[in-house]
């Protein structure tokens, strides 16, 4: 467990389970939240665009972390579940439904589809289950590409109208920042707390030893299904936000490659921690952004490699970072952060 500050005692049951433990932490949380939501009034749209992308990734990765990090089930289909949310929301809003209703609906439909592809968990687990989710990753984009082209737009996809609320049209990086960060904060709070409930503890029990969990009275199948539902629900919410952020969606945006990147974010951030997805998504997206910023410069230094520089450097660095993390820090950035915190609190002593 993390070390506590000196003088921080549990004086009541409510205090015992509190996440934010003292006034200093409350103050910091409030300052952070105010700063988070005041940012669009000061920052340029380039920075906000990156932050919006990071925010959407954080939501997806939170969901994936519940499934992979807590429940220990590998999913290679997260991007496909995200596409279900994106298309649900796009079709609903194009049909005249308000975005604020379409957002939860997108989560729900994606969750149900996730449930469907989680059903093989009744018979299979581990690697075999990963293959079932891999088939979801092919079947779902195929569906949006080829079935009912009149509704889903086929290969070119759909254009998506911006959300509206009380006369404000959310059609810029500045305005989309608010719904995205709002959902990020909510999703983080929910993810953090799911892990602390009976549900979350059952997930961890299944991850650590599923047979032993069954013996303890945890019905593995239904809990795995719940993890699949939650994971896809998060992906659906993110998909809906993505649809209205990008304003145009097509099946190519939700490929296997994206699923692999989300899994990479879970690993880099640290599995089984609510902080992990935030750190992982931020780290990988910033890495991607840096690559995009620096590749013109590198192109000047190595003119012969210019053509493939941007296309090649992204996957190369992502693969390299992921491999290094797997070998040297499999518990991810969140674990590093805990170590750093402990060292800070114990300073100047080593233990």
């Amino acid at each position: 467990m993390a070390l506590r500050l000196a003088g921080d005692f549990d004086t009541s049951y409510a205090h015992d389970i509190a996440v934010i433990r003292n006034r200093g932490q409350w103050l910091m949380t409030l300052v952070f939240l105010v700063a988070l939501f005041a940012l669009p009034f000061f920052a340029g749209s380039g920075i906000l665009g990156t932050l919006n992308l990071i925010g959407i990734s954080i939501i997806v990765v939170h969901g994936l972390n519940l499934l992979v990090g807590y429940t220990g089930q590998i999913s290679l289909g997260q991007a496909a579940f995200m596409s279900v949310g994106a298309y649900t929301s796009a079709v609903l809003v194009r049909g005249g439904v308000s975005f604020w209703f379409a957002l939860p609906a997108a989560g729900l439909i994606a969750g149900l589809v996730g449930l469907l592809f989680g059903l093989p968990a009744l018979r299979i687990k581990g690697f075999y289950l990963a293959m079932a989710t891999l088939s979801a990753q092919f079947i779902i984009p195929w569906f949006f590409r080829n079935v009912r082209v009149d509704i889903f737009g086929g290969m070119p996809g759909l254009r998506v109208p911006p959300p509206e609320l009380g006369g404000i049209i959310f059609n810029s990086q500045q305005t989309m920042y608010f719904p995205i960060m709002g959902v990020v904060v909510l999703c983080t709070i929910v993810a953090k707390n799911i892990a602390r409930t009976r549900l979350g503890r059952a997930f961890v029990a299944i991850r650590d030893n599923d047979l032993a969990a069954e013996v303890l009275g945890i019905h593995g199948f239904t809990y795995k299904l719940r993890a699949f539902f939650l994971s896809a629900f998060y992906a659906g919410l993110a998909g809906s936000l993505w649809a209205h952020y990008a304003r145009s969606i097509n099946p190519e945006q939700f490929s296997l490659l994206n699923s692999v990147w989300y899994l990479g974010m879970v690993i880099v951030g640290g599995m089984g921690s609510a902080l992990g997805p935030i750190l992982g998504a931020t780290f990988i997206r910033l890495l991607e952004e840096t690559t995009i910023q620096f590749s013109p410069l590198l192109g000047k230094i190595f003119p012969e490699a210019q053509a493939g520089l941007l296309a090649g450097l992204g996957p190369l660095l992502f693969g390299l970072v992921l491999m290094l993390f797997l070998v040297f820090e499999p518990r991810g950035l969140a674990h590093r952060w805990e170590l750093l915190k402990a060292a800070w609190r114990l300073r100047p002593f080593a233990h």
Binding site: S135, I267, M323
Partner: protein, 298 residues
């Protein structure tokens, strides 16, 4: 339904299936010995095509020389991958190994684009291009010969496992790591050997495939079709790999080609038929035709 074209689609499916079987063989080899499923198999295949292209283009070698040289490079690539990427993960949970091969796939993708550029190339042809006509069935001769090379490669590896000392050692390690170690076999070295052979198999597939469809980074996608093949045949079974590969090739070809109705054809059912098939296999018989059924005890 175009039943008259049935033999045609069946034959085309079998030929494509041969390539799937070759990729599946590489997957089975690695899984059998080290319990790692190699998602990067397709990217090693693509690398092989690019290396062979490089030899023919920059050193002016004939395609067959380049083919052999690519196989030599494959041994090195396999050994390096095993030593640097997979060996540190021995004893880690399955997710770590899965992620490692996925990361490796991304790394190879990026490396190939950086080294060779992302545009399409063509290899000098290995086989004559004229069609082969057998009754109603028209086949491309280069596909048929590539299939034959794939089958020969397959046979060589089966014989290797059956009749050589190294093959026996690999089969022993596949059976039980601790037992193999107790009789003096070096299990890490066997893992290295498995990766080397799997890379060679992948690069054979890569050169054959590049001969038919050109050298490009999209070649790696074909390995995704080999996944249903391996699962159907059974992850631990070498004969399963060939049966699975051929079955998936035939299913894909028949589902894509047979329906005559335009509305059904426009759905491109052939694209997902292998994955629907994989889902069915997973639900009905997860261990596949010849795979090992795992029994768990606490």
């Amino acid at each position: 339904m175009n039943w008259d074209l049935f033999p045609q689609f069946l034959a085309t499916g079998l030929l494509t299936g041969g390539i799937y079987a070759l990729i599946a063989l590489g997957l089975v080899l690695i899984y059998k010995s080290s319990r790692v499923f190699n998602f990067a198999q397709g990217h090693i295949l693509m690398l092989g095509a690019f290396i062979a292209w490089w030899f023919t283009e920059n050193l002016g070698w004939s395609i067959w020389m380049a083919f052999l040289a690519a196989m030599g490079v494959a041994v090195l690539v396999g050994l390096v991958i095993e030593r640097l990427a997979l060996r540190p993960l021995i004893g880690q949970p399955i997710l770590a190994a899965v992620m490692m091969t996925l990361a490796l796939a991304q790394f190879l993708q990026g490396a190939v684009i950086l080294a060779f550029g992302a545009y399409q190339r063509s290899l000098p042809t290995m086989f004559p291009l004229q069609p082969l006509i057998l009754g109603d069935v028209r086949l491309k001769l280069n596909l048929v010969l590539a299939f034959a090379v794939a089958l020969i490669g397959f046979a060589v590896f089966v014989l290797f496992f059956r009749f050589t000392r190294a093959g026996l050692a690999m089969r022993a390690a596949a059976e039980d790591h601790q037992l193999a170690q107790s009789v003096g076999l070096s299990v890490p070295r066997i893992f290295g050997l498995a990766w080397a052979i799997a890379s060679v198999v992948a690069m054979i597939g890569g050169v054959l495939l590049a001969n038919i469809s050109g050298v490009e980074t999209n070649l790696s996608v074909i390995a995704l079709k080999a996944f249903p093949a391996v699962l159907f045949g059974g992850l631990e079974s070498i004969p399963g790999a060939i049966i699975g590969g051929l079955t998936v090739g035939v299913i894909e070809s028949l589902v894509g080609g047979l329906p005559q109705d335009q509305a059904i054809r426009s759905l491109h059912l052939g694209d997902i038929a292998p994955y629907v098939f994989m889902l069915l296999v997973l639900m009905v018989r997860p261990e596949g035709l010849f795979g090992l059924k795992r029994i768990e005890r606490i």
